[in-house]
């Protein structure tokens, strides 16, 4: 059962490469997304059996992030179908520089999208560090063609940076894995297998020095993929050049997968008595990421890049929460779902804005509320949610982290956290509000940009409502899952 979650999208992805007609292929995309979501929903009621000697197992952390991924993919599939049918065939004009380019074949796009889901699922269900690594590198390779969907020189640049930086980063994580093997090698015995439960169970036998080195390399390696500053350099380029539906998945789902890779290592470190060191590093990288993101969000001229930097910021917040320990772990994990839903919604709407205004620049967009009323309202709602304003869920999670930081006496961290959040709020308010208000340029009105299609507004609307509801009430099953996951990570439930 557990492997089916990975194999179904994989098989569908292979099939999609060879389906020559657009309509059936789009139906295949939606059906696979539905099947995956259904399967993952079933996992909440019947926990699947571990497979292959415990290499594949769905623990609470995996289940939580797998559910986010699956939900996001379902929305992205719905949005993506509408998006693909709106893309012109043949030659297209670039929105920024006005040259002519073409799209990659749609079959490749859909196939890679489904493979992307398969590889992300594999990351989340694998308990073996080797398999985790293989799956993580595979996510990079199948998502590179997605970024290069619009075939022009800027997307080539983004794709090349993404491929090279992430591959090198993940290769460092491979070195980290080897260090982990050395840490588990004991003279005259078989080495401890790289399975999470074994490593945690036999923590007393691990060599502490090598474990430290392993954590450092895995943190840097997977941190590159997760977008922790200063390793985030691929992220704004890839997110801004990829089609919006891909950006939403990269930001909302892929970064979480990389986070899970780090969390697994953190679990081993905590068990072996190195929790203090790994937490400290996570806190440091978290605060640094928030700070870097704030620098680039202020006065950012490109709204998709702004959203990308905001992902760096939120991954920083999550890392900070995990690193603080105590009740902040709960807050950090809860923040992950808030961020994923909000950011996906914002990228979807950014796609709608780009379709209507033909620009990514903040100054080129005015009068959003008049031009695209529904998207405009959602854009404002998304702004409030992403900056952690009450009553959205992200306010709650950010507040839990702040409170925990103060309770534990991390006053410096708390001050930096608050200052950065305030700066980002101000920077984003300028961007979002300027875009929403005002009067659209007269020629825009005349051109009568496309009406907002239901499929392209519905997914972000649902996500905004969900984040709002999470801020008002966390359902019992979610609270219980978060508590359990926080306990696994050494925090308070």
């Amino acid at each position: 059962m557990i492997l089916a979650a990975c194999l179904i999208p994989f098989a569908a992805g292979l099939l999609a490469f060879f389906v020559p007609w657009d309509k059936p292929r789009r139906v295949l995309l939606i059906l696979t997304a539905l099947a995956h979501a259904g399967l993952v929903a079933a996992f909440w009621f019947i926990l699947p059996e571990p497979r292959v000697g415990g290499w594949f197992e769905l623990d609470t952390i995996g289940k939580y992030f797998l559910s986010i991924t699956s939900l996001l993919f379902l929305a992205a599939a719905c949005y993506g179908v509408a998006y693909l049918s709106g893309e012109d065939r043949g030659d297209r004009t670039d929105v920024e520089e006005g040259f002519i380019f073409q799209n990659a074949p749609e079959a490749v796009f859909t196939g890679c999208l489904l493979m992307f889901l398969a590889t992300m699922t594999l990351v989340l269900i694998s308990q073996h560090f080797g398999i985790l690594w293989i799956a993580m590198e595979a996510t990079t390779l199948v998502s590179a063609p997605l970024i290069y969907f619009h075939r022009h020189h800027r997307s080539i640049e983004a794709t090349w940076k993404y491929l090279l930086i992430c591959s090198v980063g993940i290769a460092l994580a491979l070195l980290g894995n080897l260090f982990l093997v050395i840490a588990g090698s004991i003279e005259g015995q078989k080495a401890v297998p790289l399975v999470l439960s074994e490593l945690i169970g036999r923590h007393g036998e691990l060599n502490v020095l090598w474990l430290k080195a392993a954590f450092l390399f895995l943190l840097v390696g997977y941190g590159t993929k997760m977008g922790l500053a200063p390793l985030h350099t691929w992220l704004p380029d890839a997110h801004s050049e990829a089609p919006s539906v891909v950006s939403a998945l990269l930001s909302g789902a892929l970064l979480n997968c990389a986070l899970v890779g780090i969390l697994r290592t953190h679990q081993v470190c905590a068990a072996a008595g190195l929790g203090e060191m790994s937490s400290e590093l996570l806190r440091g990288f978290g605060l640094l990421s928030m700070f870097f993101a704030a620098l680039f969000i202020l006065r950012q001229p490109d709204f998709k890049r702004m959203l990308a930097y905001s992902s760096v910021e939120h991954m920083g917040i999550v890392a900070l929460g995990i690193g603080l320990g105590g009740s902040a772990v709960f807050g950090g994990l809860f923040h992950a779902v808030n961020h994923s839903l909000t950011k996906a919604a914002l990228f979807f709407i950014a796609g709608n804005i780009m379709a209507a205004y033909n620009t990514k620049s903040v100054s080129g967009v005015q009068g959003l509320l008049r031009m695209l009323p529904v998207s405009g309202i959602l854009w404002i709602a998304g702004f409030l949610a992403i900056t952690g304003s009450p009553p959205f869920g992200s306010f709650l999670s950010e507040f839990i982290i702040l409170k925990s930081a103060l309770d534990q006496g991390h006053y410096y961290a708390a001050v930096i956290y608050l200052v950065v959040l305030a700066a980002i709020f101000a920077g984003m308010a300028m961007i979002f509000l300027n875009m929403a208000q005002g009067v659209p340029a007269p020629e825009m009105k005349m051109s009568g940009a496309r009406k907002e299609s239901v499929m392209m507004v519905f997914p972000p609307a649902v996500f905004c409502v969900l984040v709002l509801l999470l801020g008002i009430y966390i359902p019992e099953f979610l609270r219980e899952t978060l508590r359990e996951a926080a306990r696994l990570l050494g925090g308070l439930g």
Binding site: G130, L141, W160
Partner: protein, 224 residues
């Protein structure tokens, strides 16, 4: 046995230095291929009692990929991009060789300070593998051509492989093969991207890939 190991290690060191000094892409591809084959045969050199099917299978697949498939893919990319040699580098060749020697010293120093589980086996192999890893990173950073960066990635990967294999770290067969598959697909995808880069820009220099940034220099702003 010890002597043979030493000769191989010296070969690996020289191969890395040669790579740093060479501007001809064809030569670079051949060096990296030879290095790959040698590294995939390392485990037998260290321990002759290893002639098990499992080890043989992994070593055979690795040698075939690194020695023949990757060079073939890269040569194809080279032909499609119509390039023969790297003309500009951000670091001159003579300086890169000097930096290479510096890197060698650093890797010797680092590995002398690491507590290894089986020190008698790994005396030479660990510094050489670190050296290879660092040279790979340096090539990625210092070379301008996309193809050379892929070569750097391969050298980097060779170094990691040497480190793992030389220590006889026990990884399950499936994991080994999965890692190889990933590297293969990575080189494949990068090859495709090189083709697209050459078509888009008429050459494969990555210094043209510098438009996306948040702080552009004024002259570039003017150009846009």
């Amino acid at each position: 046995m010890q002597e043979l190991t030493e000769i191989v290690m010296v070969f690996l060191i020289l191969a890395n230095l040669w790579l740093l000094a060479s501007s001809r892409l064809m030569v670079c591809i051949r060096i990296v291929a030879c290095q790959g084959i040698v590294i995939s045969l390392l485990p037998f050199l260290i321990n002759r009692h290893l002639l098990l099917t499992e080890f043989l299978a992994v070593a055979g697949v690795t040698a075939a990929l690194k020695g023949f498939v990757f060079p073939w893919l890269l040569r194809r990319a080279m032909r499609e991009a119509k390039v023969r040699r790297e003309i500009e580098t951000s670091v001159p060749y003579s300086v890169s060789v000097l930096i290479g020697i510096l890197i060698l010293a650093i890797s010797l120093w680092i590995s002398s300070r690491l507590p290894m589980p089986k020190p008698e086996l790994t005396e030479l192999i660990v510094p050489v593998s670190f050296f290879t890893i660092l040279v790979g990173l340096f090539v990625i950073v210092s070379r301008v051509m996309a193809l050379s960066q892929v070569l750097g990635y391969l050298v980097f990967e060779n170094g990691i492989y040497a480190f793992g294999v030389a220590l006889l770290l026990e990884q399950p067969l499936w994991v080994e093969l999965g890692i190889l598959l990933d590297v293969f697909v990575a080189v494949f995808v990068m090859g495709i991207m090189i083709f697209h880069i050459s078509r888009e820009f008429d050459n494969i220099n990555t210094d043209q890939l510098s438009e996306l940034a948040d702080w552009n220099s004024p002259e570039k702003e003017g150009r846009r």
